[in-house]
Amino acid sequence: MASIQLQAQQLYCERDDRVLFDHLDVSLGNGELVQISGPNGAGKTTLLRLLAGLNQDFDGDVLWHQQPLRSVYAEYAQQRLFMGHLSAVKKALTPIENLRWLTSGWSVPEDALWEALTEVKLAGYEETLCQQLSAGQQRRVALARLCVTPAPLWILDEPFTALDVHGVSWLETQLQQHVERGGSVLITSHHALQSIPSLRQLQLGVTREFEQ
């Protein structure tokens, strides 16, 4: 597994004149799993996108192997996998076509893709259009790439959404295995992840309460 060294220093971000976080340091190395938690509106999604290099609307430094993220973005992008709220699954395509596109940044052999779909319990649905799948099934299409992309760093925003009990435990196993293999994971979830030993929590501030 390639070496992972993501550091964020003195992050400061405000939205609508409300400070989401200030003097925030985050660092991530091989074999670590960091769960960003906090109440609704705390800024978890914002922080995640910022660490993924998708948002530049903040102060502070994000470093990848000691270099500013923007200057090594292409290399960084090869090494990290980002999954946001939106799953990038096209409804007019079949699961296998979607997966092929989702993994096209890495050269993944074709039969690995089919295996991945079987792995997420979509065997038999490979050639069905995604618009005919249920909410959870569509989500699984997007998750299937966790099994096949070689990227060591995973950044996942609420990946448990819409999954059923089996799906949840499957995903937990995936996370755990990935971490054991030396990969690392940055995740937001309102779901408790206690089962994974190397879990680290990063608590974001509570939302400001207004007086009436």
């Binding site: 980002f82 990038a88 989702l102 096209s104 940044g105």
Partner: protein, 222 residues
């Protein structure tokens, strides 16, 4: 590079699966052009005079309408986010998207134009000019349009706003192209106009992808 290629392939699959994507602009083109004789005057001599202009305006509007969805879907379903996350060159992506768009809108229009020319009684001499001007001009429309589409991709009332942004930019194309057709109809040379269109196309290929890329990156910090 691989993602760009995968995206091109995916877009063509999507088009193949939903033929409306290229049929609709074509039908719209035919319908708008067919509305003019109804609204104005059916006299063929009169129509002959306006045919070139009407066909070009219709082509322009058809292109415009089909631009709306160019990036919007990708923004809405998170594909663009994935694209940005991949760190690949935006320039190639922008160019590829414009190419797909042209294959879906400009190309069929160009191929169908003789039919419309016939219906609108375009002078025989002007057929070639119409065809060439569309062949060179519609890619410019796609490229310029991609800029507008990228700028309005994340917005609610995208379609109309997009039109507002790029209709003024389409004017030079419209002028040179319709003048080529008009002059051809009078038996005059029109190579000069086509030359200008060609020059504009070259410029557009070089520069619009930059603007598209910049505009798409705006969606980074949403």
């Amino acid at each position: 590079m691989s993602l760009t290629r995968a995206t091109l392939r995916r877009d063509f699959i999507l088009v193949a699966r939903n033929p409306g994507e290229w049929l609709n602009p074509l039908m719209f083109f035919l319908m708008v052009a067919a509305m003019f004789p109804l609204a104005v005057d059916q006299d063929p001599r009169f129509l002959a005079k306006i045919a070139g202009g009407v066909i070009w305006v219709s082509a322009l509007l058809a292109t415009l309408l089909s631009l709306d969805a160019l990036f919007k879907m990708d923004v809405d379903d998170g594909s663009l986010e994935q694209w940005l996350a991949s760190g690949e060159s935006m320039f190639a992506m922008a160019l590829g998207k414009a190419l797909v768009h042209w294959c879906v809108s400009g190309l069929p229009l160009t191929l169908m134009s003789p039919l419309l020319a016939m219906m609108l009684a375009l002078p025989d001499d002007a057929y070639a000019a119409l065809f060439y001007s569309l062949a060179i001009g519609t890619p410019i429309l796609s490229l310029l349009g991609a800029v507008g589409a990228a700028l309005t991709a994340g917005l609610r009332s995208g379609g109309l706003l997009l039109s507002l942004l790029i209709l003024p930019l389409y004017v030079p194309v419209l002028i040179f192209a319709s003048s080529a057709v008009y002059h051809a109809g009078l038996g005059m040379p029109y190579a000069g106009q086509l030359g200008f269109l060609g020059a504009m196309l070259a410029l557009a290929v070089c520069f619009t992808p930059l603007a598209v890329a910049a505009a798409l990156k705006l969606n980074l910090s949403r």
